[in-house]
């Protein structure tokens, strides 16, 4: 299981070395990975349907309770099948969509990284690893959205998406940490058993708010929805995969996963219902004003996500089942519509629904796929969409004491979504083919087969719902409700639900024939644009930029001396304040050891060297006398029997002096630039900094040291690490990880110096 989840990561690392192969014809080979994962996960369907839950756990950071624990139950299986199944089709599609693209291998790398992160996310049983995978999906989607990185709009929407979903990620981390400390475990399975304590805890509302923050940002709920339409700048396979089928559903997944832990309270349910309702209606209305096919699909996706949140908010068996089914339904038809849009875009270079017409004449299979997806999205029998819609209506009505308003809202949303689905899936193919598109060619079969498969899937599952039932029903079980003997079926008999369905279909179809998308509608919408969350966010954004640039200009003004004085003043203030509060100033002269003659000599030497550094008129002399100070300190180390330190200090000092000489060698002659006042100011600053540090060191010396640790090292260095030199043994053995980090930091610093100096040189050369 671990291998299956991490396979995507392994493949994307592997691409770094073998990427060139995947740029040409063999690109399609990359699709083997999602396909084999899909087959692997399919093999679990029967076991999961019979109620089995498969656990697997690997120790990671056991001391913090952070483990790589994975669970495969109904909920994660549904998502895993969607991720790998649609992933496979998207991989195939991409091989033709981005054929011959310079960075196709990179694209596959990001895509498979995303797939692995998503799989990890839906199967994690540990809150912390869940958070890590969650953030990985945000990061890989950032790369994917900004894939056309030479396009400024593309970069901007990638950053917006990352900012919003990243914010949600932090919220998830906060929620996970509090939840972990309240339930005293990070394992989700164990948290479920302590649900009552968690809900009764005073921090419950806070936890729920943090989880909502994460789910709403990821699943584009109002008012965080605006990153999703922006993210449509990404290549279409990305929109299909991330923005309709998988990533945006991660928020919904989170809500479903934590329903048994945090759900079924007044606060949880009503928040979800209200936010979901606002989102579904708001976004559905927005689809009326779009002309760009992808824009329409983006808003209808947001609306669908709103419906899902709304359904989870009701929290009954029926609505949860409806939500589970709707996830599958939506993934099937929306992915199809996106892929179809991608084909249209690829072949005609246009996504404007007001000019696209009659394309069925040149690409019939695509038209069939679009049509099937449109009727599934409309909920016309016998598609799976119909089942989904029926179940949604039925379960909503069945909720006890539900206000009529909610039912009206969901019907209105469905009507508008039907309209949007028809516009996206049918309009481009209807009517006569305009002159402009008469040259349009039939796309490669790699492009049209994936959407057709998905669309046919929607139809087949609709006619034979028994096929998809074993995947859908365990989802409800996983959420702690009993799906019981509910069966998915096409025909429910004549009842209110059927009437609502008929109303929906008729109204929506009429609307489709009456209302044509046009420029005029779009302009109307723009008039109220300044009130939308996006423009409010952008205003805040600009303010943030202004504040931060003001701040930066004040502190980062390019003068090294100002940086150092700022740091020193801050340090003096902070340390001085805390010393003033805590330190007891007393000096007992009798406890001091005797000062020997050579110590006096060294201190005297240091004293004169410092004075000389300050007052000399030559840079070289200043550097040399600084070196003298350093070497004098080395001598002190030697006297107090720290030969290791002394050796290191000797070498470092030598190198520092050499470095200074190298830098100073090319500088102009020494000039007296600072005036009298500045020098006094600097002097005062330096003296107070020095005295603060002195007091600090004396304080440290006065604090009794825990000699246990040093005794442990002294006793064990030979026994455990075969070394007699304790200092070195600590460095390479007892605290080897520290050393490893330190040398890594050193290497990074060296690369930094190299890059800064060499790259700057290149730029000036160009000029």
């Amino acid at each position: 299981m671990l291998t299956a989840i991490l396979l995507g990561f392994i493949f994307s690392v592997f691409l770094v070395f073998t990427g060139k192969i995947f740029r040409g014809k063999p690109a399609i080979l990359a699709a083997i990975i999602p396909l084999s994962l899909f087959v692997y996960f399919s093999s679990f369907i029967n076991r999961v349907a019979s109620g089995e839950v498969i656990h697997e756990s690997f120790e990671w950071v056991p001391s913090f309770g952070v483990n790589l624990g994975f669970t495969l139950d109904g909920l994660s299986l549904l998502f895993a099948l969607m991720i790998t199944g649609i992933g496979f089709l998207v991989f195939v599609y991409t091989s033709s969509y981005l054929k011959g693209h310079e960075y196709l291998d990179r694209f596959y790398g990001y895509l498979s990284m995303f797939m692995a992160a998503m799989l990890g996310l839906v199967m994690s049983d540990n809150l912390i690893s869940l958070f890590i995978f969650w953030e990985l999906t945000s990061i890989s989607s950032f790369f994917l959205i900004g894939f056309n990185n030479s396009n400024a709009a593309s970069r901007r929407s990638a950053i917006t998406a990352l900012a919003i979903t990243g914010l949600g990620g932090l919220s998830l981390l906060a929620g996970a940490l509090i939840l972990g400390s309240v339930g005293s475990t990070y394992s989700i399975a164990e948290l479920i058993s302590s649900r009552d304590e968690i809900v009764a805890n005073p921090n419950y509302v806070l936890i729920a708010i943090f989880f909502f923050g994460a789910a709403f940002t990821k699943s584009a709920q109002f008012p965080f929805h605006f990153w999703l339409p922006g993210a449509m700048k990404a290549p279409t396979p990305v929109s299909t995969y991330l923005h309709s089928a998988t990533m945006v559903k991660a928020g919904v997944y989170l809500l479903m996963r934590f329903t048994p832990v945090l759900g079924s309270t007044e606060f949880w349910n009503s928040t979800l219902i209200i936010v979901g309702a606002i989102t579904m209606v708001y976004a559905a209305v927005h689809t009326l004003f779009r002309r760009d096919l992808k824009g329409i699909l983006a808003y209808s996706t947001i609306s669908a996500l709103g419906i899902l949140v709304f359904l989870i908010g009701q929290g009954t068996e029926g609505t949860l089942l409806a939500a589970a089914l709707f996830i599958a339904v939506h993934a099937l038809y929306k992915a199809t519509l996106f892929l179809v849009t991608g084909i249209i875009d690829h072949q005609t270079y246009s996504r404007d629904v007001t000019i696209l017409r009659g394309l069925r004449k040149v690409m019939l299979p695509v038209a069939i796929a679009g049509f099937l997806a449109a009727i599934s999205s409309a909920g016309i029998p016998p598609t799976l969409g119909f089942l989904g819609k029926e179940l949604t209506y039925e379960s909503t009505i069945a909720v006890i004491g539900i206000p009529l308003l909610w039912i009206i809202l969901i019907v209105v949303t469905k009507i508008l979504l039907l309209y949007a689905g028809f516009v996206a899936g049918i309009t481009p193919f209807m009517g006569a083919l305009p002159e402009k598109f008469s040259e349009t060619k039939m796309p490669s079969f790699l492009l049209w087969v994936p959407p057709l498969l998905l669309a046919v899937g929607g139809l087949v599952f609709g006619i034979f719902p028994g096929l998809i039932e074993p995947v859908i029903k365990p989802v409800v079980t996983a959420m702690g409700e009993n799906a019981g003997d509910a069966h998915l079926q096409l025909w429910h008999g004549f009842n209110t639900v059927l009437w609502l369905s008929i109303i929906t279909i008729i109204t929506g179809t009429v609307l489709f024939f009456v209302l044509k998308p046009s420029e005029r509608l779009g302009l109307k919408a723009e008039r109220v644009e300044f009130l939308s969350p996006q423009s409010i966010m952008e205003r805040l954004w600009r303010m943030f930029y202004l504040t931060s640039s003001g701040w930066t200009n004040f502190f980062q003004n390019g003068y090294l001396r100002n940086y150092i004085s700022t740091i020193m003043v801050f340090m003096i203030g902070l340390t001085g304040y805390s010393l003033y509060n805590t330190a007891t100033f007393s000096l007992d002269l009798s406890t001091l050891s005797l000062i020997t003659g050579y110590e006096m000599a060294i201190v005297g030497m240091m004293f004169f060297a410092v004075l000389y550094t300050v007052f000399t008129k030559s840079r070289l002399a200043a550097v040399a006398s600084m070196g003298v100070v350093g070497l004098a300190i080395c001598l002190l180390f030697v006297f107090y029997s720290a030969p290791d330190l002394a050796m290191t200090q000797f070498s470092i000092d030598t190198l520092t002096v050499i470095l200074f000489v190298l830098v100073l060698y090319r500088l102009p002659r020494y000039l007296q630039l600072s005036d009298y006042k500045t020098r006094i100011k600097d002097g005062v600053l330096a003296l107070s900094f020095g005295s603060i540090i002195t007091i600090l060191i004396l304080e440290v010396l006065a604090t009794p040291v825990d000699s246990e640790i040093s005794r442990y090292y002294a006793d064990n260095s030979y026994v455990l690490a075969h070394g007699k030199n304790v200092v070195n043994v600590i460095l390479v053995d007892f605290r080897g990880s520290d050393t490893f980090m330190e040398i890594s930091v050193l290497a990074i610093a060296a690369i930094g110096v190299f890059a800064l100096l060499k790259l700057r040189l290149k730029e000036t050369d160009q000029r």
Binding site: M647, T648, I658, A721, K724, V732, G736, I743, A747
Partner: protein, 136 residues
């Protein structure tokens, strides 16, 4: 600073100092020394050579950019930390060859870790100093 004496001396000093740095590196486990100091001494040897013979001469002497020592050293240190995993021990557990060798003493993964540190330190110092000397 191209004086004859320094120039002559430095070409003899370079191998001696390098040998000394290896000596310091190897004795680290028992007596003062170790990879860090050893690396610094080796860098000083090269810097001294560069001072007296010119940077370009030292670079030709080195044959490759000192920066490549950094990944090499990091890799060696990392592998020596990973090696215990082969024996089902936690990351960075010290592995020791049971018998002790003449001159070197016990040999274990810690020694290779130290050699990694040594290489990284040479790589880092020389990269920084050579880059600065080159560009300013």
């Amino acid at each position: 600073m191209k004086t004859i004496i320094l120039k002559t001396a430095s070409s003899y000093l370079l191998p001696v100092l390098l040998l000394f740095s290896v000596f310091i590196l190897l004795r680290g486990h028992y007596l003062p020394g170790g990879g860090f100091v050893g690396g610094l001494i080796a860098s000083i040897a090269f810097v001294l050579h560069a001072f007296s013979n010119g940077l370009s001469n030292t670079k030709t002497l080195l044959k490759f950019h000192p920066g490549f020592l950094m990944p090499l050293g990091l890799g060696l240190a990392f592998i020596s930390g990973m090696a215990p995993l082969l024996f089902d021990l936690p990351f960075m557990t010290g592995l020791w060859y049971p018998d002790s060798f003449p001159v070197l003493g016990s040999i274990g993964s810690a020694l290779f870790f130290d050699i990694g540190v040594y290489l990284v330190v040479i790589g880092v110092t020389l990269t920084i100093i050579f880059t600065i000397a080159d560009t300013i």
